[in-house]
């Protein structure tokens, strides 16, 4: 399928106009910047309605098959739609585990029945999906997951506990990594992958209150919970491989994800805009030589990541350690995001001490809350320290 530049630019104009006309007004409460921040029903219903609207307009799941609720067109259109969503700063499409993990996986390796059953609900936001990988004792060490799934006739019986389940209390389905064979020689070979329903007896979720005071994650307890055997994806023992496959969809619509704005990207430009009018020693903030140096460093960090993406595509310039740029992306992006938010608060002066809820807080306390929430990315998905170990071992070849 080939798409002409003209088709894309016409489409861009169309979607841009739609986003401009339909970008919802400020609801009067802070909206989640990422799908990990959906803390209450009010936020959930707002985002559910928004995603449904985007999908109905035809700007979500554009490259997914038509018969399952998708648009059946080239992924290039979705990329344009995503760019326009970002540019117009519309709310996120919050059902990220469905749109970016479970959905593309089902599209790629699911049965006809699974596609028919799940895909449309993911796009329409009717069915919220969550992810059950991490466990209390095995945060960054997924391969060691201990939650048990035992085959019993037409069912699997689940026992164990997951933690940091995003929107676990709102979710209808979970992508679940559970151990079917504790005796497997390699720990990875004992794992299986399930598309598990959440509303069954024996599955209980308990919201976790985050450091921000808000909610967004749950602990999920499995106590003799019975799910149909056909929830197993692929075959027993393939869980690790399938779980790893879900990670590749992070590269966006071209890789198979449904698209939609997954998170609000915050940049140095935003920080500079939001600090307008701030002063230090009686002078405009950005005239302070120490502050200027810090802001320049932040600009360089952000720019280096963008340039690194470009350089990664040039084989001749990545010969030393070919895995370096892609493997360090998560570490660098998440750490950079955390540092930027921290800096933005420091630069506010005394107002930096205010928080969401104070009428005088800059941008309603956006940066303070964003800083606290940014740890979800430096901790989740393998902490920065584990990422550094992975890079040291797999890129530099240092010993375990």
């Amino acid at each position: 399928m080939s798409v002409t530049d003209q088709e894309l630019s016409e489409f861009r104009a169309e979607v841009s106009a739609w986003m401009r006309d339909n970008n919802p007004p400020d609801p009067g409460f802070l909206l989640p910047q990422t799908f990990m921040e959906v803390g209450d029903e009010r936020q959930l219903e707002f985002l559910r309605e928004w995603q449904h609207k985007v999908w109905t307009a035809g700007y979500l799941g554009m490259a997914w098959p038509k018969q399952y609720g998708g648009g059946g067109v080239d992924a290039a259109f979705q990329r344009v739609a995503d760019q326009e969503m970002r540019r117009h700063r519309v709310p996120i499409c919050f059902n990220v585990i469905g749109l970016g993990w479970a959905g593309p996986l089902i599209n790629d390796i699911g049965t006809e029945d699974e596609k028919a059953r799940y895909l449309k609900g993911i796009l329409s936001a009717e069915d919220v999906w969550c992810q059950g990988f991490s466990e209390p004792e095995h945060g960054s060490d997924l391969g060691n997951a201990q939650t048990r799934a035992v085959r019993d006739g037409d069912e699997y019986v689940l026992n164990g506990q997951k933690i940091w389940t995003t929107m676990g209390n709102f979710a209808r389905y979970m992508i679940l990594l559970a151990r079917t064979n504790p005796a497997a020689e390699r720990k990875y070979d004992g794992l299986s992958f399930f598309l598990a329903p959440m509303q069954v007896e024996g599955i209980e979720t308990r919201p976790i209150r985050k450091l921000t005071g808000e909610f967004g994650f749950t602990e999920t307890f499995f106590t003799d919970a019975r799910i149909p055997a056909d929830c197993l994806m692929g075959e027993e023992g393939q869980g690790w491989r399938i779980a790893m496959q879900t990670l590749q969809y992070e590269r966006g619509a071209e890789a198979g994800a449904a698209g939609g704005l997954a998170m609000v990207r915050v940049t140095v430009d935003d920080m500079i805009d939001d600090l307008a009018g701030a002063r230090r020693d009686g002078e405009p903030l950005l005239q302070d030589p120490v502050i200027r140096d810090e802001v320049v460093r932040a600009i360089m960090d952000e720019k280096a990541l963008i340039l690194g993406d470009r350089r990664a595509r040039i084989g001749a310039l990545t010969t030393d350690y070919p895995g370096s740029l892609p493997l360090s992306q998560k570490l660098r992006a998440s750490e950079g995001a955390r540092q930027l938010r921290k800096l933005a608060i420091t630069l506010q002066g005394a107002e930096g001490g205010l928080y969401v809820g104070d009428a005088d807080a800059r941008q309603g306390g956006f940066w303070q809350r964003a800083y606290f929430n940014s740890f979800s990315a430096t901790i989740g998905g393998g902490t920065s320290q584990v990422q550094a170990n992975i890079i040291a071992e797999h890129v530099l070849g240092l010993p375990k």
């Binding site: 940049t267 802001v295 690194g308 001749a316 530099l396 240092l398 010993p399």
Partner: protein
């Protein structure tokens, strides 16, 4: 407008081939024992090796074909210099290339053609930039009077004693001009060799006491000031490229040691306290190389605009800070071995300190970047 600005990054197949050739040449011709053999020689480099590089066309790689160069432009210097940095290979190449670029940009070919042809065929040249230790000083004390008599005292002139031509910025009739002094016009005592922190490098203070020049040997005109501005940025970029190469080699040295040295019954590379700083060095090098090749994508034009200036300054600020960190950690992570002369870690640490001080240190460039990025 976004503070991120231009993010162009292109690299041609031709440049890729040059990178491969340069890397292989530097690796095989400049092993570390060859580098060490030059540390305490007066010249500091192997003339036979320099001749080979000239024969490969590198002395004139950035100069036009009309003067015997390869016509590949300033960008072609970047991969070559990076590979030299990786092998700690020092020759007059960088000094000569900058002198050549300065003359090329400041004067007409009818005046500068012969100098450029000599540089392209291997005659070393250098620019006498400094009159004190401050790269941010915009003043110029050197005087070239109406009778073309040069009076100047220039400091830390790179490769001064190897150069056949010394290009000396000086005030002439109220404007900055370039006096091109032939080495033969200077007595031996005009040079006072510097003792440098980096033993692979050579520089000298040079006294130009009443050197008689001619109108032919002085480049004047409005292009001179712009050329000085641009070539300083190019100098920062080349030092950055060399430093990034040295940092990569330094990291390899550290990783090699961490993979062989055992303490407390285990390879020391398994300790996270040593592992994680290695990753910091790696990501620092990644950033530096991204800035460097971004900058090299932009330097093809005749005059450098704001985007080129931002790119060169970011490259220099990042690369030299990374090399300094890498060299510092390299000594530390080699333990007692790292404190010894025999350990190569000291070579990188010395290079790091030298590089940081060429064409302005990281703070200098970030200060200029702040003005470029935040005051518009």
């Amino acid at each position: 407008m976004s503070v991120i600005g231009d993010t162009t990054l292109t690299f041609s197949e031709e440049q890729g081939m040059l990178l491969d050739v340069a890397r292989e040449f530097c690796r095989t011709r400049s092993p570390v024992d060859a580098v060490r053999r030059q540390l305490e020689t007066p010249g500091g480099f192997d003339p036979a090796l320099w001749d080979e590089m000239v024969a490969l066309g590198w002395a004139g790689i950035s100069l036009p074909e009309s003067v015997g160069g390869s016509g590949l432009g300033a960008a072609a210097l970047v991969p070559v210099v990076e590979c030299m940095g990786r092998a700690l290979l020092t020759t007059p190449l960088m000094s000569s290339a900058l002198a050549g670029q300065l003359l090329l940009r400041a004067g007409s070919e009818s005046q500068t053609g012969q100098w450029l042809a000599d540089i392209a065929s291997g005659a070393a040249a250098t620019v006498a930039w400094l009159e004190n230790g401050d790269w941010g000083d915009s003043g110029l004390q050197a005087q070239l009077d109406d009778q073309y008599v040069l009076r100047a005292r220039k400091l830390f002139v790179p490769d001064a004693q190897a150069a056949r031509y010394l290009v000396v910025p000086a005030m002439h009739r109220g404007e900055v001009a370039l006096a091109v002094v032939a080495a033969g016009q200077l007595e031996a005592q005009a040079f006072t060799a510097n003792t440098l922190v980096d033993l692979t490098k050579r520089a000298a203070n040079v006294e130009f006491s009443e050197i008689q020049l001619t109108a032919q040997s002085v480049v004047t005109g409005p292009a001179v000031a712009a050329a000085l501005h641009d070539v300083r940025l190019l100098g920062a970029l080349l030092v950055a490229a060399e430093a990034a190469g040295s940092a990569a080699a330094c990291l390899d040295t550290v990783v090699g040691y961490l993979n062989t040295r055992k303490q407390f019954g285990r390879l020391i590379g398994s300790y996270q306290a040593l592992k994680h700083p290695c990753v910091d060095i790696l990501t620092g090098i990644d950033s530096a190389r991204s800035f460097i090749y971004h900058a090299s994508s932009l330097v093809a034009g005749e005059g450098f605009d704001r985007n080129v200036e931002i790119a060169c300054r970011m490259a220099k600020a990042q690369a030299c800070e990374t090399l300094l960190y890498a060299g510092d950690r390299a000594v530390q992570f080699h333990g007692g071995m790292g404190f010894s002369w025999e350990c190569d870690a000291q070579l990188y640490l010395r290079r790091a300190q030298w590089s940081q001080q060429q064409f302005g240190d990281s703070q200098h460039h970030r200060k200029r970047l702040a003005a470029l990025l935040l005051d518009t």
